[in-house]
Symmetry: C2
Subunit: 398 residues, 2 copies
């Protein structure tokens, strides 16, 4: 629901929050978990500009799960409280500098599900393996997903050690085809009991917030292991998430119509509200030899074939319980153009067309020392830009 | 390690524990979580014969995760303590009757992984779909597994609601092909940190205990959704586990040589100790019209192609962290003979050969009101039988 907290004219007494292009203006107010300098105690904070407001008086503990279990009305109350403390004219209080604090994984993730909701990604990947028949027959009818590993979800900035494993018959060693995937993650709010599906009309109310997700993938391991039960060790060595959870409330002005489908969908997936999120994701990349990162791709999240609401309705239609803080990722966000491709597998056509970098280096897959930086933001005329911050990871040798 | 706690001559002052065929003699001492009659507080107990010893003085809390985080030396200490309290000659104390207590899911399961370790199951299922080429090329080299859903793991006795979902293109409704799968589950002990594999020589020490697992499956949903990322809604509506965790210590006399492989395996999977567990699993079945259950199948768990140690070494070889209380299931336990088939898909050849029951009823897949009961036990000459108890579930209508 759009309310006075989205007023684009509102400014904060925190000057860095008022600068154009800032990810965290007073209309955003994402939540995270941080440790201040010199402290050993992690606590919950709200990002404002380049600072952090300690909100442990309102939200005790060191994970956001209790926040996510709140009703949307209670989450909105908390948002209004933060606006009152941070808006221009309120009495300034002590803040922490983001760069001086340590940021943590903000949520205890019970279960992690990864969808495959970009039809462009599914088509691009399918073309590489089945040129005549890129899209499988089920794709347009059933939201495809698999369960990922919760224990290896790490916060942005955590180094990613190149995994070793079986690369083919009798072949063992560090992966030679290490890749990233840019995704958007949804944190589950109240959730549902075993056996009680969430109807599509209620699905949106079970999203508490969003983050950026890097679904690191080892393509050689994946190719060898994935039949018939799907990816396993190719994915579960690490998944990075951005530290700031942008709330469902902050996203309210950015929902829009998803692209039309050319086949009928079943009633349980027909969403009564515009279900796509007008969010751009970008992938930036830096080798150890580069001083500045370059942008590899950008894509419109609103063009995904399945919406977040459809993912939740589908996930629970069989009675599967979602719990507060569960993470549902979208799958690689790609689009129709070459510079919309959200992983190296697509960008380099399985390694056949190496990237040429400004340093003269080339890449088919990731080298040790390479850094991948994901960003994302919502922008629409008439509303203040809402940023998702960054999700970073640098590859370390095996 | 076999020690004096395995002495087959030792008896308990709890008479029901000394009866031949008892699942829970003093050599077993499995742990569980129970609520006594009239109490609202769940606590940890040890099963002895038909009774429960409250051990909340030694193990506080209402889940076994802290127990599983113990070293094997500390777990062995606890076992000796229980033997001293329960052996013949010790001073009798108050016990609870198992039938009067409510049993709970004993562990908070962070992540749940399901393997596919029976080559007979993989071959039987493969034959139904690819008669000329039943076993995929990777099967004999790489232990195949996928991540399951932790939030829908329920304790034995919890009714299983028939899930609804997409049964094919444009087809929606309650599954018409509801199946069970008999599996053995391993609970992870201390586990490993991100990026630090568990070597095969140490793998066994990371098993804290075992249970029975029923991996309920909706075959029509599975067929339609599983390409290319594996099973999802076909499995995540419910997974049942037996309530008593049989400890690694109790199993010590029952490790044996696994069957030989006819292809070389990579060094990280070569186990230096006999890695197979000499455990029989059985599936019993009762329709609403039957007064007594009948046995549908039995299989030798020691004939699985991959051992539990191999599963743990493989799971972590890429650095994936296992945490205390994580559940690793074996996949369907089947064997080479028709009465070794551990699911209806195999027993009825995808429904083509219905089961004929003593009541004159037939079954291809499960009907509402049907009950599936899994049992398992270790028996070897010279040692006392160690039972895993039961894992029950009855199908409720959608």
């Amino acid at each position: 629901m759009i309310d006075e907290t989205h007023d684009p004219a509102r400014r904060s007494w925190v000057e860095s929050a008022n600068r154009p292009g800032c990810d965290f203006p007073i209309q955003n107010l994402p939540l995270g978990v941080f440790t201040p300098p010199g402290s050993a105690t992690a606590r919950i904070g709200v990002a404002i500009g380049e600072a952090i407001l300690d909100v442990s008086d309102w939200l005790p503990g060191d994970q956001l799960n209790a926040y996510m279990a709140l009703s949307s009305a209670d989450r909105a109350d908390f948002r209004r409280h933060c606006v009152r403390r941070l808006e221009a004219g309120a009495k300034p209080c002590a803040l922490y500098s983001q760069t001086e604090c340590r940021l943590h994984r903000p949520v205890t993730i019970g279960d992690y599900t990864d969808f495959y909701a970009s039809i462009d990604h599914a088509t691009n990947v399918g073309k590489l393996f089945r040129p005549e028949n890129p899209l499988l027959p089920n794709y347009k009818h059933v939201p495809i997903a698999y369960h990922g590993r919760a224990s290896s979800i790490v916060v942005s900035g955590t180094p990613v050690k190149r995994p070793q494993g079986q690369l083919g018959e009798g072949r063992f060693g560090p992966t030679q085809e290490l890749d990233y995937e840019v995704e958007v993650g949804f944190f589950v709010g109240p959730g549902n009991a075993l056996g009680e599906p969430i109807a599509i009309a209620k699905a949106r109310s079970h999203i508490a917030g969003v983050c950026l997700v890097n679904d690191w993938s080892a393509r050689d391991i994946q190719r060898w292991e994935y039949q018939p039960l799907g990816p396993f060790l190719a994915k579960n060595f690490a998944t990075s998430i951005s530290p700031w959870v942008v709330t469902a409330e902050a996203l309210a002005p950015f929902w829009t119509e998803p692209p039309p489908h050319d086949v009928p969908i079943l009633p349980y997936l027909r969403e009564p509200v515009p279900g796509a999120l007008d969010l751009t994701v970008e992938v930036w990349f830096r080798t150890a030899a580069m001083t500045e990162p370059i942008r590899l791709s950008h894509a419109a999240f609103k063009d995904m074939y399945w919406t977040a609401g459809q993912m939740i309705a589908h996930h629970t239609v069989n009675g599967c319980p979602l719990q507060p803080g569960d993470l549902i990722a979208s799958g690689t966000v790609s689009g129709p153009q070459p510079d919309n491709r959200g992983c190296l597998l697509e960008l380099t056509a399985k390694g056949a067309e190496p990237l040429r970098l400004p340093t003269g280096e080339t890449r088919t897959f990731l080298h040790d020392g390479d850094e991948v930086i994901l960003t994302g933001y919502c922008e629409r005329p008439g509303w203040v830009r809402i940023g998702l911050g960054h999700c970073r990871g640098t590859i370390r040798p095996q």
